[in-house]
Each structure stands twice: as structure tokens, then as C-alpha cells.
Amino acid sequence: MSESNTSPLLSVENVTKRFPGVTALNQVSLTLAEGEVLALIGENGAGKSTLMKILAGVQLPDEGQIRVAGVPVRLDSVQTAQANRIALIHQELNLSGNLDVGANIFLGREPIKRGLIDKKKIREDSVALLARVGLKVSPDTIVDALPIGQQQLVEIARALSVDARVLIMDEPTSSLSQHETERLLKVVKDLRSRGVSVIYISHRLGEVRELADRVTVFRDGANAGDLSRDEITHDRMVQLMVGRDISQFYARKPHQPGDVALQVSGLETPANLGHRLSFSVRAGEIVGISGLVGAGRTELLHVLFGVDAAVSGTISVDGQVVRLRSPGDAIQAGIALVPEDRKQQGIILEMAVRTNIGLPGLKQHQKTGGFLNRHQEGKDSAEMIARMRIRTPNERQVVQFLSGGNQQKVVLGKWLAMKPKVLLLDEPTRGIDIGAKQEIYALMEELAEQGVAILFVSSEMEEVIGMSDRTLVMHEGRITGELTRDELTEESIMQLATGNVGTPA
């Protein structure tokens, strides 16, 4: 104890980590005091997750020193990290989908009774943990059956189950909506009051402002500065992260929407049978869809993109009724989707930037006999890399090695190259840094001006309010209301999102 007042609970000193092709961390340092919530922010690829993985014993640093309560430690395995009572919620989901919720929460730390797993204890403890994160599912539910958002809550419950001194959360809210987020923030504050130290990584500066005692900023794998409690303001953080200030974040100009581009009437989706959805999006209009996790938004977009077949109802583009049996049909009809699950659905990680951008256009640009049109592919990828300002050494770089934000830009790029009439965006800024975010918002605005009809799902209320001309709110597969720009407030959205219909809509 006497030691811990002299030296911080956790200190990272001049850590360097290299990967083939990149130096993820270059001589970075940070400290964490007992019972402190430290926010770690930085652009995509700044090295936040890498440092956290090092602290969790998943990766070893190439250089540098790590101390716990002043004592030098070598965190060469997850076990040693756990022995030092350090726990990490990874940025990507890390669950075994074939096991039930309880099994995942206690994976690797199962309570044992007479040599066998004590399933009773697991169930009991899980119920308590799930309650704490506000997830209303049985511990016996198979994880595969949960939508991403709920799986994220399971991850958090698992981290809580470790009796940790240092709890690291790497973008825990990236797939949570307002409601769950608020609950999570409560949990974190509660942990702090119990003397647990938390490292909190997020691109959502609002959360950071509300939560952090201190902020450490990384830029390009190096320290870019610290902010103490009273210095924490939106602009200061952006300043340090991006190195420039980003004026007028949501660049919305009012403009006249054109004719109806997308008309949906009586649409019934397989995951939410019995609910008929009807709405329309005009050319040049940006319509947001808000709602809680599992409200059916992704499901809706999947049907509009032909991934899942509609059970009933009609979809028409520019007045033409279209039958969407596959994404191919949707693309034909001028619809494009930037999917929710970037790594699984958006890009092919092992392939080059150029190849990914070219993929949807291959058919359209093919030469006679089905031969590749390399020239067109090169032209498109070059144009998109420039227009999106995708940060990559060259068009042949494998997408895997780009940061999250730049990967997302690649996904956008591959669709813009198709010049769609209707652009569907599912959580377009999930896990994306402030700079990239602003670029994407600017892009949406630009497209709208060009007359593209944009329908975008977001769990980040701030951006829904900031970006949309109109907002549809969904609750358990139904559209519970529609809010115009001047009706839009967090309250009005929450009202509808939690199913309280009856407020003016």
C-alpha cells in the first residue's frame, strides 16, 4: 500500500511495438492511478488497441517497460495479466458463439466443484452480472442467437466477472445504442467508486467528457498530450488527436429534396414477422433510422439490399417496383449498402485496397468474354483513394493493415464507384475516429447534394440528430415514429425507441 501512493498503480514507459509494415507504437508512455478513469483517445491506427493488447498479455512489446504498483512486470501471457488483475474488453467481439452466455462469461475461469465445472454457480453469478449490464437474456442462451449489440454486453459482463484492479475497455460502446451506453457509463462510475481503475477507449467524445478524470491522447503511435479533468473539452481533444481543429462538425446545408427515390410499402422482414414497414426517401434526402440494439434496423437494410428476402411488401426505386432476390439485383436497381459488420461483410481483409474497391464494378466494366477491365479498376481505385483521402501506402496495400477508419472508407469507396441512387449506411461511423467521421459526414452531405437518397442507421444519437433531415425510430421491428429535423431531440427519440408511442410524431 505504502508503495502505491508513491508510484501509480500502472505505468507504461517508452513502449514500442512494430508490425510488418507499421510501427504501431513508438516510445509511448502512460500512467494510471488507483480508482481513476483514464480515457485514451486517438485517431484510427493511433495504437490504442495495440497498447491495450500488450497490457492484457496478448502481445509483447518490442521495447519499453511496464510497472504495476511500481514493480516491473513482464506480461507475457493472458494469465500473467490476470494474475496482475488486469482485464481487457477487446475492441472486436471475442466470444465462442457455440457456447451459452454463462460459459462465455466464465470462459477460462470456470468455478470447479469436485473436479467438474460448477454450472449452478456459473448460472447464478451470470444472472447477477447480466443484470448489472442490463442484458435481459438467460445465461443459457447460445451466444450465436444474440445480435451484435447484445453480444457486446456479454463481453462487458465477462470483464466485470474478473475481479480486476485495472479494467480496460476498448471501444465498449461502439455497437451499443444510447440506452445501453448510459447504463454502461453508470457501471463504470460504480466501478471507480469501488477503487477500480479503468482505461476507457472511445471515439465518442461525449462519453469521454462525461466519464474521464484524465485523458491521454495518441497520434500516429506516439503520445500527443494529456488533459486533466478541467481541460477536457471537445475542441481540445480534437485538437490533440487530429492536430488541427475541426470547425462545424456536421456540415449540413438545407437543400430541396427531389422526387421519391426509395419507396417502401408494407415491408415485412424475416427476423421480425408480423410488422409491416412503410416509408420513403427522396433523392437528396438524408433519413436516419434510430432505435435500440436489436430493433430491426440492420434487418431492414438487409432486406432493402436483397441479402434477406422480404416476406411481403413492395420496394420501388424511382417509381419502379424492384424485386430484390440478391444484392446483385439491388445493385442493378441502384442501391448500395455499407454494412454494419465491416470485417465480415464490407471488405475482404486479405485483398488489396484496389481489388476491394473494384469488386462490385467488375461485372459492369467487364470486357467481352468476361475479362477483367484492369484499366477501369485502377482508375476507380485511384479516384476513390484520392476522394476519400484513404491513408494507404499504395493501392496494392492489403486492407487488413489499414486502420478501422480507413477500412470503412474503402467500403464507402467501393460503393461510390458504383454511383448508386440509394445509399444505405448501417452504423457508418462505428469505431471510426473523429477526423474520419467528419470526412464521412462531409461525404454524405456531398452525395445528398448530388441527389443520392441516403438512409442511414445509427445508434449514436448525436450524429442522427446532426445529420438527418428526417428520422425514423424503430422499436422491436416496428417503426414507432418519424421525427422531422426540428422535432429531433434525444428525448423525443428515446420516447419512441423505448416503445412509448403517443408522443407527437
Partner: protein, 335 residues
């Protein structure tokens, strides 16, 4: 249990049909043979299930069985060493094979299919070379003491008087005990849970502090050890070993049994009971084919078809269940 309903019903249907179609089928003698064969194949099925659960595969089982079956009499008869020495050798052999497979797959990140495909060739060649293709026999009296393993229960010390013991193959006892141990291991111990977890998502398991390398090696060791045991039993049962062919294709039978029994080759799933049913079904089919006097050239075709039907049914059942769930949800939501 529930997930094995599909195959269980197929098994029963075929059983009934054969019992109905041939009066020699439902006789103690035939049933004894049937149960014994099913037990032998069930045993190696359980073995391969462990690697399948880790989303791996082992194609070398048949060759390892051949090698073990050759090495054992080679040690005991040709080299004149003791029975214990022989047992120790094949035990060590299986152990080493399993460890090597496991290390190549985890440390060198080689693909299980490739590693064990090489194993399939390597062990076969070794078996043939060791005895230069001579047929090996188990007639030698030194094996007499082991023969009980492929006899009936009444031959076990002190079981002579048990009622019906004569009608129960010892191999069946071995299968049952092995099955129970395996089932408990998989479903009730942390190691089983680790295997299931890493089988689906190795990174998640590793990030949870599980030593996935050790667990995967363990899985291959278990598989090889059980294959070794299987090799011994098969050899004792058939008594005559052709080094160049003994055990050919057994890996496919074992894998088929596991798949029929509900193991997914994508890993993370597996029911010991199902595997035993799977092995039994295949042996039953072969038996039915001769009992019903079906053209035995068609035998592979029939088996292939039934396995296919088995997995298709399984698939459809899953889908229907999923659909029903969705509808149910919808009703709850709307109500």
C-alpha cells in the same frame, strides 16, 4: 440427446425394416456380431471427434491403425519381447504420433488436413517396410490373454456366471466406458469446455487465457491414443494383418460416424452418444444389406446415401426450428 433424434430415428427404421425383412437378423449371434463391429468403429469415431471438435481433422487414423497392428506382433513375436513391452511400444508410438501432429499444427501453423494426409502416407509405408509386406498374425499364444478383449463378457475373470454375459461383446463394454469418460470430459470438465470454445473461436479462447496450443495438442494425442487402442482391438479381432491394406479408409468411417453423430467439421460441436449412433448405423446398414440379400456391390452407395440423408435431415430440422423460433418471437412481439 435431442439433437440426435434424426439419426436415432433412421437407425430404428433401418433396424425394424431389417428385422422385419430377415428372420436371421434378430438373432443373438447376429446381434452380437453387429454390436461388436459397431463398438470397434464407435471407439475410433470417438477418437476422431476430439480433433473434429477443435475444427481439425485426422486422416492418418487408418494408417496408424495399420502400423500399430503390425508393430505389436513384430515386437512380441518377431523380436521376442514381452507382451508388456509390445503394449508399451504401441502406446508410445500413438503418443508420439499425436504429439507430432499437434505440434506441427499449432507451432508451425500447418493445416490439419495436410499434416495428417502426410501421416496417412508415412505410417502406411513404415508398416509395410517394417515387415516387408509379410502378413502378421495374432495366432501366437502370447496374445491369448488379450483375446478376451474381443470376446464376450462371460470370458472376463469372474463374469462367467453373469446372466446373458455370453451375449455381450467385451468391446461393447470398452466402448461404453470410453464413451462415458469422453462425454464427461467434454461436457463436465474445463478441458472439454476449452476444446469446444477454441474449436469455434480459437482467438477468443486464447484471449480468455486458455493455452490453446496445449489443448489442441491434447486433442490430437487423445485421437491417436484411441486410434492405437482401436488398432489393437481390430487386430485382435481379425487376427490377420495385411500391412499394405489393414485400416485403409477407416479414418473416413470414423469421420463419417462423427459427422452423422452431429459433429460439425467447423468445430465446436459434438455429441459422444451421436457418434456411437453414427458408427452403429453404418455397421447396421452393411449387416442389413447382406441380411436382405441386397447386391453387395451397392453397399458403399447405400451407406453414402444414408449418410447424406442423415445430414440433410439434420440440416432441415435445424432450419425449421429456427423458422419456428422467428415466428414465435414475432407473435410475442405483436401480442
Amino acid at each position: 440427446m435431442k439433437k440426435n433424434l434424426g439419426i436415432l430415428s433412421i437407425l430404428l427404421v433401418v433396424f425394424m425394416a431389417t428385422a422385419f425383412g430377415s428372420d436371421s437378423f434378430f438373432t443373438p449371434y447376429n446381434l452380437f456380431n453387429l454390436v461388436e463391429r459397431s463398438s470397434l468403429y464407435g471407439i475410433i469415431g470417438i477418437g476422431v471427434a476430439f480433433v473434429i471438435i477443435t475444427s481439425g481433422i485426422d486422416l492418418s487414423i487408418g494408417s496408424l491403425i495399420g502400423l500399430v497392428a503390425v508393430v505389436f506382433p513384430y515386437i512380441v513375436v518377431d523380436r521376442q519381447l514381452s507382451l508388456g513391452m509390445g503394449l508399451l511400444t504401441i502406446l508410445g508410438l500413438s503418443l508420439v504420433v499425436g504429439i507430432v501432429h499437434g505440434l506441427l499444427i499449432t507451432k508451425l501453423k500447418l493445416q490439419p488436413f495436410v499434416v495428417t494426409l502426410c501421416g496417412l502416407m508415412i505410417y502406411r509405408g513404415l508398416a509395410r517396410w517394417l515387415v516387408s509386406d509379410r502378413t502378421m498374425g495374432y495366432g501366437n499364444e502370447s496374445f491369448a490373454s488379450l483375446k478376451v478383449l474381443v470376446g464376450n463378457v462371460s470370458q472376463l475373470p469372474g463374469c462367467a456366471s453373469l446372466p446373458g454375459a455370453k451375449h455381450v461383446p467385451v468391446a461393447f463394454l470398452i466402448l461404453v466406458s470410453l464413451g462415458i469418460v469422453a462425454a464427461v470430459f467434454l461436457n463436465k470438465t474445463i478441458y472439454g469446455r476449452y476444446l469446444l470454445a477454441l474449436g469455434r473461436n480459437e482467438q477468443a479462447a486464447r484471449f480468455s487465457g486458455i493455452n490453446t496450443t496445449k489443448m489442441i495438442v491434447l486433442a490430437y494425442v487423445i485421437c491417436s491414443l484411441i486410434s492405437g487402442l482401436g488398432g489393437l482391438l481390430f487386430a485382435l479381432d481379425y487376427g490377420s494383418i495385411q500391412p499394405d491394406s489393414f485400416g485403409n479408409f477407416y479414418e473416413l468411417y470414423a469421420i463419417a460416424a462423427a459427422v452423422l453423430g452431429g459433429c460439425s467439421l467447423r468445430g465446436g460441436e459434438g455429441s459422444v452418444f451421436g457418434i456411437i449412433l453414427g458408427a452403429a448405423l453404418m455397421r447396421l446398414l452393411m449387416n442389413s444389406i447382406s441380411m436382405l440379400g441386397i447386391d453387395d456391390q451397392l453397399e458403399p452407395t447405400v451407406i453414402g446415401f444414408v449418410i447424406l440423408i442423415g445430414v440433410v435431415v439434420d440440416q432441415l430440422v435445424k432450419r425449421i426450428a429456427a423458422h419456428r423460433r422467428a415466428v414465435l418471437q414475432a407473435r410475442q412481439a405483436s401480442s
